[in-house]
Amino acid sequence: MAKIIFNREIDKNIYYLKIAGNYQGLMGQFYMLRGWTTCHPVLGRPFSIFDLDEQAISFIYRVIGEGTQLLSRLRKDDEIELYGPYGRGFPQAKGKIALVGGGVGLAPLYLAARELRKQRSVEAIHTYLGFQENAILIDLFDKVSHRLAIDIGGYISKMVDVNSYDYVFACGPEEMMKAIVEQKKSERPHIFLSLEKRMGCGIGACLSCTCQTSSGNKLTCKEGPVFPGEEIYFE
């Protein structure tokens, strides 16, 4: 059980949740959250780590259904359960890096930007964020990016010249991620995507999160959620 520092609605149906505690985690990893102590809903909900330090861990989530609705009702000092960190996150990267987020898909990119900035081999971090209506969290992203591009209502993938980067990390709607992968024309850009699949356990036990890749079935929770772009078969 952990205590909530704040659970703020930062845009319509989008919340910024900060939880007290010294939690572990790497960029692109996720936690299973339970903001209820009853056995319904049965399953925890997976959320990427947005930010983390020795005092707190935070998440950005959109209200979708019952689980996220229950989360959105939590207030300061309420208790929440979280289990993790799970999964394989983004790899170490070097050179010129693009971070591409669509909607709440921006969640794992903030920690990525913060971690990458610490590395000497990273020359530049360009962040591209696409939103449907309102841009959120851009001040935070601005501080950790060398360049920040925002799009509202269009296709953020069109703003990214994928082949001019050494690494592209993307998270967002499937069409967006697909469009990024389809742009790849050379060996140069190493593309990594963070996928979403329904999850039972989050830890590799239940096999309900299998995704098909060019190297066979993979567990999204354990072998992902971040996969090399060219391995993914989009449905």
Partner: protein, 302 residues
């Protein structure tokens, strides 16, 4: 230390009665607690050859339960023995009983899979004749006493490993099937596997699952599973592993009072990865508080 929790399952001693159920647990839970505390650990359902599992959505929630349609995705017995068994053997060395859950589409497949494991250091074969998520085989062997009897008889002939048969609650008469398994030389029974169930996506006007039906588990099934364990325990002498919605120590104790010797915890592992450890602690606390020296004192008292 946990001496009061020790149980005797036929010839096998468990350091405590709590077993992590098939398909719901993996050695990765070590991230959360020391797995050597477990009474036993049950492998994912294994088949002779690898299986890719079912397409489409594999898990769906319902009130206090989940439905799954994984379809026995597994790497096949050979690869499992090479890659995964060594990890389980390390736990075995620490006193955790290793149970191998075997499934198949044909009798031949079951027999060859059991044969391969019979050469390995495992504690129990759990014959899964109750998986509702594969077409052909699986649960079909557990639906009628004739089919169950035939399979258990053949498997019994080829293995001297302790043999536990995992029963399906979807059979017409689970007690009769339990008795047939006992007559054919099974060393124990485990029940229940998941209940055949259904969910419909009303917007799409389609079943949630590609296979239409899926297996229901979790707290929602506990009262029915408990009744079935109670019924079966009245009629057989071999030990029974109680399964179905066990989420806390009280649930576990209910199954013991209904007659179960050991317990398996499945869906609860998804609700809280510490569930097995907590249940073991809960049982121990109950025994201390009530001044009970061993689970034997309360087993099958009803």
């Amino acid at each position: 230390m946990n001496n009061m929790l020790q149980v005797q399952f036929g010839n096998i001693t468990f350091q405590n009665p709590v077993i992590a159920a098939s398909g719901t647990f993996s050695p990765d839970f070590e991230q959360h607690f020391d797995l050597s505390r477990l009474g036993g650990i049950c492998s994912k359902g294994l088949t002779l050859y690898p299986r890719a599992g079912n397409k489409g959505i594999r898990i769906w929630e319902t009130a206090s339960g989940i439905m799954n349609s994984v379809g026995l995705e597994n790497k096949g017995v050979d690869l499992f023995i090479q890659q995964d068994l060594p990890i389980l053997k390390k736990l075995k060395d620490k006193g955790v009983r290793i149970i191998i859950n075997v499934s198949g589409s044909t009798e031949e497949e079951y027999l060859r899979a059991v044969e391969l494991f019979s050469k390995e250091e495992v504690d129990i074969i759990e014959l899964n004749i109750s998986c509702p998520n594969i077409k052909g085989g699986g649960m079909l062997f557990g639906m009628t006493s004739y089919a169950a009897r035939e399979l258990v008889r053949q498997v019994r002939k080829i293995t001297s490993l302790p043999l536990v048969i995992k029963l399906t609650p979807n059979a017409d008469n689970i007690v009769k099937i339990a008795q047939c398994c006992e007559e054919e030389g099974a060393d124990g029974l485990s029940l229940v596997n998941t209940f055949n169930a259904m969910a419909i996506d009303v917007k799409k006007r389609k079943p949630a699952f590609n296979n239409v039906y899926a297996g229901l588990s979790g707290p929602a099934i506990k009262p029915i599973a408990l009744r079935m364990v109670h019924e079966v325990c009245q009629k057989v002498k071999i030990p029974v592993i109680g399964i179905g919605g066990i989420t806390n120590g009280r649930d576990a104790l209910e199954f013991v009072m209904a007659g179960a010797t050991c317990l398996q915890v499945g869906t609860a592992n998804f609700m809280n990865p510490f569930s097995c450890a907590r249940i073991i602690e809960d049982i121990e606390n109950f025994l201390r508080e009530e001044g009970i020296e061993s689970l034997e004192e309360i087993r099958g008292i009803l």
